[in-house]
Symmetry: C2
Subunit: 219 residues, 2 copies
Amino acid sequence: MQIDSVNIGQTASAAVIIYEALKKAIIEGQLKDGEPLRQDEIARMFNTSRIPVREALTMLEQQGLVATQRYKGAVVAGISPDEAAEIWDFRALVEGRVIEMAVPRMTPETLAAARAHLEAFSNAANPVEWGDHNRHFHTTLYRDSALAYHLGIVEKTLDRVDRYLRAQLSLSNGVARANAEHEAILAACEAGDAARAAELTRRHILGAKANLLDLLSRG
Amino acid sequence: MQIDSVNIGQTASAAVIIYEALKKAIIEGQLKDGEPLRQDEIARMFNTSRIPVREALTMLEQQGLVATQRYKGAVVAGISPDEAAEIWDFRALVEGRVIEMAVPRMTPETLAAARAHLEAFSNAANPVEWGDHNRHFHTTLYRDSALAYHLGIVEKTLDRVDRYLRAQLSLSNGVARANAEHEAILAACEAGDAARAAELTRRHILGAKANLLDLLSRG
DNA sequence: TTATCGGTTATTGGATACAATATGCAAGAG
DNA sequence: CTCTTGCATATTGTATCCAATAACCGATAA
């Protein structure tokens, strides 16, 4: 007998489910910097014991999203202006390289997907959507680089600062400027000009950095 | 009353102790690629239950040092030639930037410490010592950059590939060539030539990459 | 022979119970 | 009143036990 094989999604463990939910809440800013994460409380939310909760918190700590102190618990890890500045520099360095490697391999499908995110971004109406489409626009342009390690680092870095990225986009001129810069980056990709796409990406990120530092310094 | 305060080292949890021990064993190559890590076997080694072992394995998985399958356990994560090539490219990119930022801030103490590692490296007699002194030579030159995020990523990346770095150094001309290149890098740092130190570091890493790929392809 | 089925064992995932530590408060000494 | 001290409580860290799943192996039928 021959039947269609269905990809059994390898049902995730409770620890992973909790991890993903907490990560999403932190990334989207629903959990504020410094907010304590009580094992017992989270366990009750998910109808589990504290064991998988602890595993989830361990994962989040490894990613720098929470900070833990022995016998005192975990809190959502914030970020200082200095760290923010450094991380945006890091992004400019790595994402510039990644897009440069991606452009020569970029497919029409990828370009179309990126344009869809670009348009969705410019039509979006709230910070969560801005953040999502902005991020997906960029990572879509990166994926054809096929640089798995680089892409993993980029994703982890974006997870770490996603909250601040959203806040920066929400500034007065944030979305409009990002939109114009996205258009330019996409045009360079469509033209197959890797060096230009890289340079525009670096400028885009460093411009956002300046915007963000202004925001952070004003409180 | 006034007494000397002693820094109580915040005794580490069992999970962290196990994590560090396993990490060291993997990094130094005592645990081979693909070797399974049984929870209760490790628990017996450390006279603990499996709970802290699982936390340690979770941490190692987040760092990419082990790969886990649900209900099947964890194995030491190996690396493919493609991944190796990509990671060495990443190192060249990031470490080049880091040393460039470090040179203008580099203190005489740092330079002296780096020279000590350089000499210890050239006098070392076995792969473990080569690896340690090689790594410390480079990270010493990076530290004055004060780029905490970059340095964290560099350390994690080195952890991921330390085994292969050691193997590459052990090739016929590995140590001699590395030694000569280290001298040149250190000279550029002492001369305050940041751009040259960065370029030499990139070349050093990319040269090692070619060496390693040769090793991996030959088996 | 070879493929499939059933059960046995080994191993991991998770729940409950207990131990270790920190925090807050109230009582008492100065 | 202020500071210390000791206890009560809250929270985390770990051990033990049970549940879920995978791997192995022998028996059986085509």
